[in-house]
Symmetry: C2
Subunit: 370 residues, 2 copies
């Protein structure tokens, strides 16, 4: 335990999550004297920092050095060769949501390069790609962890793995997977009246407010189409054992009025959305007549292999109804846990908590390879 | 990856949790061809099965073989020598709640023997013993995991570790740590009236019912004194960074009326408890006047290092009020998660879910040593 192992870290992406991760990595490196965590490669889509001899890049100064760098990113196959030839074990940290990087995971893994990432694309693509990733890892012994690909730093993927690997049978998973849609419905149809007595706004007003607060994508339709939820549900369902073909292989209810699918911009969409407020108002009123509230939920029934994403109603005392802010919540029903599910809830988005998922994965990989 | 590593498993305890664990171990061994999981030692306090040459004990038939065995358990120092001399790495699984086994953890760990266990005694004893355990592990490289020492299979300890190791600051933890007391207060002071219209019973009637259903210790005072909650809170607080001296070093509210502390038996206690029903009834009524319900909670405020265990009141919409059955619930407030805590809830007791915590720990150890 006294020799210092060196592990090389290569990072793609230095945006919101990437910058938070670099802060956590600097902290981790300082607190982990038994392992020398050497940052050897850092890149955005435009610039890069690295050297032919894999010398350490100062982590604290890496972002500034990157901004001033004249180096350009290595093409992915060249990056694979560069990392595979390194003089120590390598962990690739993909802090992007880039498809091309996700596509290259089997190649990295087959060459012994471990991966930690919040990138959903790799795990919510085709089932063949999913298999290629885990087969490559199993064959080479490289590790791949992606806790933050669903629910940011919440311990969801590790929990599903623990349940499955210890021999429990997951029968059903349901959850509020989207922070944006959580915020919208918690505001639009709260389980209890606001403590300040404030009336809830119309659906379109809530969407506009969520955009203003930075809770939506630049075009809110990218949240309202439900595909982000479908991708996360695909990942959990696959971990629970179902060979889900793709996130478009099951019913996903879009909250975009058909007439606004083709609006030319997010702004045009928002301008026209008030014309359709009666639709969501009637959904809310129908639920209220039964003493319930409406929420946007993803669920998988493992026995029937049925996945679906869309609106569902819940009693006001249900944990899904009582959710606050933009929190996520996930219920895992299993044979061992019986009628009361194992529930995990909390912030499912944000730079620091997403980076935390990546950092905790890195620690798991280090415990196995360092 | 193609050679089969052998890892020896030694198990102390073959009661409720122990039997469930053996079932999960048999399953795991069958599904893990890359590692040969060899059971080499199995013991209760009376009988044992092992051989001088560490040959494999058939896992599926182990309980039956133990029941028929004429071998007696090795004294703990002898067991340490036996396991330290083994021809492969060893994991000791302590499925007891025995103090003497807990006391020997530093010795096992210092000799390179890893430990997984649900035994609270080792981690909720003196702070010196806590330090001796983790110092021994750090020095020898042996691993020690104890997820099931709090909340059974719920991912609590792993989550606290992830938060701390990734650099988050835990500011506060509060939770309903006892399945027994959860059941009692969920029945005695439900947040919403029972769906079958059933009236709640008196406090003493609820305690008697819980005992009948097998939710209490043989003497219910062992639940009502709060010490089980204090031990679990001590463990989480220490993981959050506080050097808690012992589970008796902070205020713990006992629910045993002072007059009944000295009752000679659990039965005598139950027979006399109705005389004191007015006390708990007035607590419940006071909470109800504020629109609240009463729950038995453990909490730690990290900044002020204040731990306490006892009755607190919660709004009916609070997640602690809405808990069902004998579920546990834990809220982790941290710098990153802000005002909305990370919450984990579900069954916190039971043979299979406790064994699951032990088995998932074993898998973590195997990933690092096998």
């Amino acid at each position: 335990m006294s020799t210092q192992h060196r592990v090389l870290i290569a990072i793609i992406g230095a945006g919101g999550v990437g910058k938070c991760f670099l802060g956590q990595l600097a902290d981790l490196a300082a607190r982990r004297p038994a392992t020398r965590l050497s940052l050897c490669y850092l890149t955005t889509s435009k610039r890069a920092v690295y050297s032919a001899d894999y010398s350490d890049i100062d982590i604290a100064g890496a972002v500034a050095r990157l901004a001033a760098s004249a180096q350009t990113p290595l093409h992915l196959p060249v990056l694979v060769d560069y990392l595979a030839a390194a003089p120590a074990k390598v962990v690739l940290v993909d802090n992007t949501s880039a498809q091309d990087v996700a596509d290259a995971y089997p190649l990295f893994l087959s060459r012994g390069i471990s991966i930690v990432t919040p990138n959903k694309k790799a795990f919510a693509g085709s089932y063949e790609h999913w298999q290629a990733i885990f087969t490559a890892a199993a064959t080479s012994g490289a590790k791949v962890y992606h806790e933050a690909s669903c629910g940011a730093g919440l311990p969801l993927i590790s929990t599903v793995k623990d349940l499955v690997e210890t021999g429990d049978q997951i029968t059903r998973i349901e959850g509020i997977f989207s922070g944006t849609l959580s915020f919208l419905f918690n505001s639009f149809a709260p389980a209890t009246p606001a403590s300040d007595g404030r009336a809830t706004g119309t659906w379109s007003a809530e969407v506009a407010k969520a955009k203003e607060l930075g809770y939506t994508e630049p075009d809110p339709r990218d949240d309202l189409n439900g595909m982000d939820v479908a991708r996360k549900l695909t990942i959990l369902a696959r971990l629970a054992g179902l060979p889900v073909a793709s996130p478009t292989a099951f019913p996903v209810q879009s909250l975009i009025p058909a007439e606004l699918e083709t609006a030319s911009s997010g702004d045009e969409f928002l301008a026209k959305l008030p014309q359709f407020d009666a639709q969501m108002e009637s959904v809310k009123a129908a639920a209220a007549r039964d003493g319930k509230v409406v929420r946007y939920v993803g669920s998988v029934d493992v026995a029937t292999q049925a996945l679906k994403v869309g609106l569902e109603t819940f009693d006001r005392a249900h944990p899904f109804a009582a959710l606050k802010g933009s929190d996520n919540i996930f219920s895992f029903y299993t044979k061992r846990y019986g009628s009361n599910p194992l529930i995990i809830q909390g912030a499912g988005a944000g730079g620091e908590v997403t980076a935390m998922g990546v950092t905790s994965d890195l620690i798991k990989v280090l415990s196995q390879i360092a």
